[in-house]
């Protein structure tokens, strides 16, 4: 601890304490009568508006991955494996605009809390729902771990806790930061990251504006920075005997890698359970749409953050320090330390640490909800009360964080970005069931399950086999298919879809039961102002009317079907069709002539 800068350390500590206080105080923000319900703890009361949602979803998407790993990848390998992230955050919003509003509507109509809840209701399949939940938890672990790697990078550069060789002592500050995070998530649920996101984004914006305007003038201007970047990427790496990276992807192979990485990551991002959590916490359907148009403004920042990788290359002191440490993740923290006065370094470091805590909290909540709803309640305790569900989620959120900690300490960290890409490969395999299910019920549930399995196996094995001269396994996220470099996640999802389509034909021909679909077509367009009073246990048959579970009872309705008529929230579209209620489970449509 001898080389710790006192000013930097104090500022980080003070801001961390402020965030901790806000995290605990968040439990009282927009306080509901009954906090012991997953709609409250896990979705912040489903009442956030455009403004809060912008910060919350932004805080979800722009993580330590953005601040540490993207510039680190640009620093190390240039455009293809690093700057693709900019392309990816461009296309994620038009893609999300296609399906997220439908997901929001159907989740609100049936009180779904997790993506696996929807799959359960749509396909009437516990197995498929379990597969989705399992994949979600599995994919979130490396993503949370990536946040830890981000915090670790900052702590290392600050000189905190690096003096000991004992893993526990060495990572003690990290443990403490994570423990605090775990406790306030336990207490406040989604309200904590939503409120802290305001502080985070203010700090991040200040950090990035100052960094982009000030640092280039000190290292010789953007022209010089790009010249150094181009020269470095062209230089031959002594370990691999290949160029260090790609400055501008001009070969067709590098272009294909660039765009498949961007497309695959964009498809994956919005089916991540934590993104779904952020989306479902909003009050109205329009808020989702509006945010898809507003969030790209946030992404402009990402472009400049990514370029800090080249800026770090252009600053000789930083480049030398990173090389000496042998860890590209340290590029941005070292750059800040070398360029900024120590008080501002403290602010910038706090921005990164808090920027890692916010998404880590949302991810832990999302993983905990998946476990509680789709594993615990589905398979172990079908009659779990909302209170018990919330209690289980709270505890699981703690366990998930410990798991992520193990993930972070066990895997090689040289390229933290690959952790996230591995999670991306996995989560992409839920895309056909989830997004496909939002538009069509054509796919057979068992075909989707088989497709998922094929995609998971292929993706994991292919990622395991990627090797470089410096790493024998898990060395990257692209591999060569038919002579072209392609993002593994994308080839896996193509296999997944192919298997699903072929088996759907076979299973339909064999008349294997397709399961009951509890959703209605209009519900995918609906925009109810208030969460319907369907039982929160409302996944599957037999849940209708379990009145003891009601979060808030609107207009005295208990069964969700009468609500359509009483409140009319399905709107004018419904005029074309009459709903004849035959009984609680069977509904037919009779178009008006």
């Amino acid at each position: 601890m001898s080389n710790v800068n006192a000013v930097t350390f104090t500022i980080v500590l003070v801001l961390f304490l402020i965030v901790t206080l806000v995290g605990f105080a968040a439990a009282r923000w927009r306080r509901a009568e009954d906090m012991m319900h997953l709609n409250e703890w896990g979705l912040g009361g489903r009442g956030f508006g455009t403004f809060v949602a912008w910060f919350l979803i932004g805080g979800d998407l722009y993580t330590a991955y953005t601040f540490i790993a993207v510039p680190a990848a640009v620093f190390g390998a240039g455009a293809v494996t690093g700057f693709f992230a900019v392309s990816y955050t461009i296309i994620v919003f038009p893609i999300a605009l296609i399906f997220l509003p439908r997901l929001w509507s159907i989740a609100r109509a049936h009180n779904y809390i997790t993506p696996a809840d929807f799959v359960r209701g749509r396909y009437g399949s516990r197995g498929l729902s379990l597969a989705i939940a399992f994949t979600g938890i599995l994919a979130l672990l490396p993503y949370i771990a990536l946040q830890l790697v981000g915090i670790q990078a900052v702590l290392t550069v600050m000189g905190v806790g690096t003096s000991s060789t004992n893993t526990f002592v060495k990572d003690l500050p990290l443990f403490i930061a994570f423990l605090v995070l775990a406790i306030f998530t336990y207490v406040s649920g989604l309200r904590a990251p939503a409120l802290i996101a305001f502080i985070k984004d203010t700090l991040v914006y200040v950090m990035i504006i100052v960094a982009v305007l000030y640092i280039p003038t000190r290292v010789g201007g953007w022209g010089h920075i790009f010249a150094v970047g181009a020269a470095h990427m062209k230089a031959i790496n002594p370990a691999t005997h290949k160029p260090n990276g790609v400055f501008i992807p001009t070969t067709s192979n590098s272009q294909l890698a660039f765009s498949t990485l961007a497309l695959g990551s964009a498809l994956a991002l919005m089916v991540y359970p934590h993104a779904v959590t952020g989306v479902l916490s909003t009050r109205r359907r329009d808020i989702i749409k509006r945010n898809m148009a507003l969030l790209p403004i946030y992404s402009v920042m990402l472009g400049f953050i990514a370029l800090l990788g080249y800026v770090a290359l252009a600053d000789k002191t930083t480049a030398a320090e990173v090389k000496k440490a042998g860890n590209a993740q340290l590029a941005v923290p070292y750059l800040f330390q070398n360029m900024f006065p120590s008080w501002f370094t403290g602010i910038a470091f706090s921005a990164i640490v808090i920027g890692a805590l916010v998404p880590a909290a949302i991810m832990a909540i999302a993983a905990a909800n998946l476990f509680t709803r789709n594993i615990f309640k589905e398979f172990f305790k079908p009659d779990a009360s909302p209170k018990l569900q919330t209690r289980v989620s709270q505890w699981v959120s703690l366990v998930v964080k410990v798991g992520a900690l193990a993930f972070a300490l066990a895997l090689p960290k040289t390229f933290a970005i690959n952790l996230q890409l591995l999670g991306g490969v996995w989560i992409l395999q839920t895309f056909p069931s989830l997004v496909g299910g939002l538009f069509t019920r054509w796919f057979h549930r068992y075909a989707l399950l088989a497709g998922w399995l094929a995609g998971m196996l292929f993706g994991t094995i292919a990622a395991y086999k990627v090797a470089t001269p410096t790493a024998s396994h898990w060395a990257g996220s692209t591999d060569i298919e038919f002579g072209h470099t392609v993002y593994i996640g994308l080839s896996a999802i193509i296999i997944n879809i192919a298997v699903s389509v072929i088996l759907t034909f076979i299973f339909k021909a064999a008349r294997i039961p397709e399961g009951t679909d509890e959703t209605l077509p209009q519900e995918y367009q609906a925009d109810p102002g208030e969460a319907p009073a369907a039982a929160p246990a409302g996944v599957g048959v037999g849940s209708v009317g379990s009145a003891g579970d009601l979060p808030r009872i609107s207009s005295g309705a208990v069964c969700r079907f009468p609500i359509y008529r009483q409140e009319g929230w399905l709107g004018k579209d419904q005029a074309a069709e009459d709903i004849h209620r035959l009984n609680a489970h069977e509904i037919v449509f009779a178009p008006r002539d």
Binding site: T50, I248, S259, R290, P296, Q522
Partner: protein, 102 residues
């Protein structure tokens, strides 16, 4: 089989709205597809020249793309409102922005 005829009811709602506004719907689809395509089709912008300021074209293009996407998606939202007017005008708070004060 005892199940409801699922396949026939999977997409009832949107079709009628699209049929009522074919041109607007087509424009929406084109705007969304274009905003994805022009980012994914790398050969279009993978070059160092022309330099914009000190920025190689490749880097300038991607950063300048972001605000453009925001504007394009904003237009899409306005068009979507014309295709499908807001369903619950009876809740005026939806249009407001003051939810923070709540």
């Amino acid at each position: 089989m005892t199940q409801p005829p699922v396949a026939s009811r999977s997409s009832g709602g949107p079709r009628s709205a699209i049929a009522a506004h074919p041109i607007t719907s087509a424009v929406i689809a084109i705007l969304i597809i274009a905003s994805i395509f022009f980012s994914l089709y790398v050969p279009l912008y993978a070059s160092a020249t022309p330099k914009i300021g000190d920025f190689p074209f490749f880097y300038f293009y991607l950063i300048a793309y972001m605000p453009v996407v925001a504007i394009v998606l904003g237009i899409v939202l306005v068009l979507q409102k014309r295709v499908r007017p807001p369903e619950s005008a009876e809740i005026p708070s939806a249009a407001g922005t003051g939810e923070v004060t709540k």
